[in-house]
């Protein structure tokens, strides 16, 4: 190991020049990163690698390498955000092999055994460093995905007010446990905030209703009932009606309607309102609502 450390420290200047020259030749993503930035990063990485090698350990996870590790993770994360592929990020480190190998060959040309051993340790070292960058890229991507999932969860459950005291909750996409929790909380909060007696849960956008989804729906409806609100399920498609009956799901205590408009009509009727057409064939056939007193 000390052999490799010696060679790298001694030839640091030359390795750096060669590395930057090689990279400049093979630099494919001039659109994503500038040449000066790349040069600065290369210099910093090489300094950190020299420091790591001089710590006397060949193990990248040892404390002597923490500087190089952190630097590479940081660079990889920023490159992942810039849009580099994992291959491109790993190539950044792996392209350091050639200049180091040529330095080793130059210095150890006389002893075959030593040459081979040193080349092997250099390969091992650089592969590990390249793997570190790949891991960092993956972590950055995973963070991104989980953040987007969270945002999707929050965006996908709007509660809209249809009328005074009537809410609608259009559900789009499959209902899993995590989403049901968010949907339920959102709906119940809005029921309290708007003092609404009726809530229409529209499942037109739910692709399939299995026993689990039905159970989640029933939970939401029960919770709303406990608070004093009434739920109506709408948007039951013919296939879903068939599935529900075939699966033997008991929705008898729940009012279900085929269309959102039917559900709204029912909610209006139950809250003592009627829709009346003011005059036959008027410009838009617009109806007005009247409150039935008593």
């Amino acid at each position: 190991m000390s052999e490799l450390a010696d060679i790298i420290s001694r030839n640091e200047e030359q390795i750096r020049t060669e590395w930057i020259r090689d990279m400049a030749r093979s630099l494919q993503r001039g659109d994503l990163i500038s040449k000066t930035e790349l040069e600065e990063q290369s210099k910093a990485v090489l300094v950190a690698v020299v420091k790591g090698v001089q710590s006397g350990s060949n193990d990248v996870s040892s404390p002597g390498w923490s500087g190089a590790r952190e630097l590479l993770q940081q660079i990889s994360a920023s490159r992942a955000r810039q849009g580099f592929s994992p291959v491109e990020v790993a190539t950044f480190v792996l392209s350091l092999k050639q200049p180091i190998f040529s330095a080793i060959r130059h210095d150890l040309a006389k002893s075959q055994d030593k040459l081979f051993d040193t080349v092997w340790s250099a390969t091992e070292l650089l592969d590990r460093l390249a793997l570190t960058t790949t891991e960092a890229v993956m972590n950055t991507r995973e963070e991104l995905i989980s953040r987007q999932q969270l945002e999707l969860l929050e965006l996908s459950t709007p509660v809209v007010k249809l009328w005074d005291g009537i809410l609608a909750l259009p559900i789009i996409g499959t209902l899993d446990s995590a989403r049901t929790q968010v949907v339920m909380e959102n709906l119940l909060q809005t029921i309290v905030a708007t003092n609404s007696k009726y809530a229409i849960i529209d499942i037109t956008g739910v692709p399939t209703v299995d026993t689990l989804v039905a159970q989640h729906l029933l939970k939401t409806i029960t919770a709303a009932r406990l608070m004093g609100a009434e739920c109506i399920i709408s948007g039951v498609r013919p296939q879903i009606a068939q599935t529900i009956v075939h699966l033997g799901i008991n929705l008898e205590d729940v009012v279900t309607k085929a269309k959102l408009s039917d559900a709204l009509a029912l909610a209006l009727q139950r809250s003592g309102r009627t829709v009346v057409r003011t005059s036959e064939g008027s410009n838009s056939g617009r109806g007005i609502l009247s409150n039935r007193e008593g």
Binding site: L188, I191, R225, L226, M227, G228, A229
Partner: protein, 131 residues
């Protein structure tokens, strides 16, 4: 000793729970409510739990029990103002309080009770079927 007040409003009983319920308090309330219904001949009980933020299965069962006992004594029970978190907890505990009527606010609960009491007095069976 700490106890939850039971107020009389005409033929109705009004109970607002404004402290954290513990088991002893719940049992005492159960005792008081049944006592007062028979003493005053009340026909309706309104329980306001809008300040109640923590429930367990015992409190849930207590609410169901009070409703059932009141019905035996000839009074309807309405629970009003349940918080979303409380409702979710009860559902997760598997307690849907099937025999208990609910309303969003005290006002809505009163309306419901007056309706139910009127239904009872006119001898209509509808209310029992619904409950």
């Amino acid at each position: 000793m700490e106890r939850i007040p039971v107020l009389r409003m005409g033929s109705l009983l009004l109970i607002t729970i404004q402290v954290d319920m513990h088991d002893k308090l719940a049992l005492q309330l159960q005792e008081d409510v049944t006592q007062k219904i028979s003493e005053w001949g009340s026909t309706g009980v309104l329980i306001d739990i809008s300040s109640l933020e923590i429930v367990d299965s015992f409190i849930g069962r207590m609410l169901a029990n009070i409703a059932a006992m009141s019905r035996v004594l000839g009074a309807e029970t309405v629970v009003v103002g349940m918080q979303p978190a409380v409702a979710i907890t009860l559902v997760e505990l598997g307690m849907s309080l099937p025999g208990v009527r609910t309303a969003l606010s005290v006002e809505a609960g009163m309306e419901l009770l007056y309706g139910a009491v009127a239904g009872l007095q006119s001898g209509s069976e509808d209310e029992f079927v619904q409950a």
